[in-house]
Amino acid sequence: MSIKEQVITIIAEQAVLEPSDVSEDSTLEDLGIDSLGLVESIFAIEEAFDISVPFNANEPEQSDFDISSVASIIKGIEQLVAEQKK
């Protein structure tokens, strides 16, 4: 599975949807994922890729990690995997 497919699978599981129902342009809010769901998804992603995601729930918009859409999350994870798995 590609990084993209794995991230979508994790987000879909959190949203209780089929991966095919998670489009890349949707926001977490569109998918019904709240702040706790987000923190849980990030934990699952960190575990799946053995990376550390810089995310503080108090300042999500100031974090280097862009959570504005599924696509931006995938892009962020691809970058972090590339950086941290050298």
């Binding site: 702040s35 706790l36 923190v39 990030i42 934990f43 550390s52 995310f55 503080n56 729930a57 108090n58 300042e59 100031q62």
Partner: protein, 406 residues
């Protein structure tokens, strides 16, 4: 609604926390706006992302307790006893006969003996040992501190521990207040303590991603989370007539309290739940909103708490919200979770007794969502007649106390 029967006053206070090992030392630090938050020091701290906290430093348990006591006292119990000794000494009360039979101890605590748990899990899981010290259970149970206080001071009346996360101490002190107000007890020992600053304790909090890596900056637009603290504060709540008859020094009067539950979310606070507790405390104390001069805020420095708390205060106080002062002392001593309301009550007593309002330090940028007088960075002299102390816990459990100048 319950009508007050007996007036309740505070005749003793004690503490140990990151700002100092006594009430005078702590109040001096609060007046100076000193920060007790620093680098954490304990085993495996290098494996944490969050490396700061309001830790009690320069503390040597062996100078305070003997070997047999230390085998039974977790750090949160040690802190409780140190604070209780100071409070009881100041009150001058000695418990015997009928007074002992009806007086008890009600404490707030959330994590129990977490450093004991952490150390013993390390023993069995990491070190692979199959044996732990025989006193692990009596040491880690979260009523241990209350029980040891009852034993040391001969308190034979109603005694228990209240666990409502960050509101534990306020809920506990409210119960003690009720015991004295209702006439069931002439005096109660109350307050709370916490000591979660160990690898497992902080690692668990890291998971929620609400902790700051650099500082606690309540109400400041650039705030980025909470910082944990540890310690205890203990008080003697006493029937006013009883205190007066023996010529006790009265630090402040407890005027009323209210509790509410949000019944909505396990971590996100609710403005309505907070507002109901605040307005309920005013009603219970029989005072109008414009009589309140100062509020010791819950003020955790998280995005969620601070704006919700300010909105609740604005709702309850209306135009008077712009007249009153509200500060969070957590920026100085950290968030003591189950013990926090107790340490924060010291700032309330200082406001009433000394006319000094403790500041919100670390305040750097105004936040339009927290547009109240948060007493930024420097303490202020002001005469106040009534103060409130807010506590809003994870799980949506709220408790607000109202105090009056003696």
């Amino acid at each position: 609604m319950t009508r007050a029967m007996n007036r309740v006053v505070i005749t003793g206070a004690g503490t140990i926390n990151a700002l100092g090992a006594s009430v005078p030392a702590t109040l001096e630090a609060m007046r100076e706006g000193r920060c007790g938050i620093g680098e954490l020091e304990f085993q495996d701290v290098d494996r944490l992302a969050i490396k700061i906290g309001g830790q009690v430093k320069g503390y040597d348990a062996e100078t305070r307790f003997n070997r047999q006591q230390l085998a039974l006292y977790d750090r949160f119990t040690q802190f409780t006893l140190i604070a209780a000794r100071e409070a009881l000494a100041q009150s001058g009360l000695v418990f015997s006969g009928d007074l002992a039979a009806t007086s008890g101890v009600i404490l707030g605590n959330s994590g129990g003996g977490m450093t004991t748990l952490d150390a013993n899990y390390r023993t069995v899981y990491e070190d692979g040992k199959n044996r732990v010290h025989p006193f692990v259970v009596p040491k880690l149970m979260n009523n241990a501190a209350a029980s040891h206080v009852s034993m040391e001071f001969n308190l034979k009346g109603p005694s228990f521990t209240v666990a409502t996360a960050c509101a534990s101490s306020n809920h506990a002190m409210a119960q003690a207040f009720n015991m004295v107000r209702s006439g069931m007890s002439k005096a109660m020992v109350t307050g709370g303590s916490e000591s979660m600053l160990c690898f497992g304790g902080v690692k668990a909090w890291e998971g929620l991603r609400v902790m700051s890596k650099d500082a606690c900056r309540p109400f400041s637009a650039n705030r980025n989370g909470m910082v944990q603290g540890e310690g205890a504060a203990i008080f003697v709540f006493e029937d006013y007539e009883h205190a007066k008859a023996r010529g006790a020094d009265i630090l402040a009067e407890v005027a009323g309290f209210a509790m509410s539950s949000d019944a909505s979310d396990i971590v996100m606070p609710s403005k309505q739940g907070a507002a109901r507790a605040i307005s309920g405390a005013l009603r219970d104390a029989g005072i109008n909103a414009d009589q309140v001069g100062y509020i010791n805020a819950h003020g955790t420095g998280t995005a969620a708490n601070d704006k919700t708390e300010c909105a609740a205060v604005a709702d309850v106080f209306g135009a008077h919200a712009d007249q009153l002062m509200i500060s969070s002392t957590k920026a100085m001593h950290g968030h003591l979770i189950g013990g926090t309301g107790a340490v924060e009550l010291l700032a309330c007593i200082m406001a009433l007794r000394d006319g000094v309002i403790a500041p919100t330090i670390g305040y750097e940028e105004a936040d339009p969502e927290c547009a109240l007088d948060v007493v930024p960075n420097e303490a202020r002299e002001a005469k106040v007649d009534y103060v409130l102390s807010n506590a809003f816990a994870f799980g949506g459990l709220n408790a607000v106390l109202a105090l009056k100048r003696a």
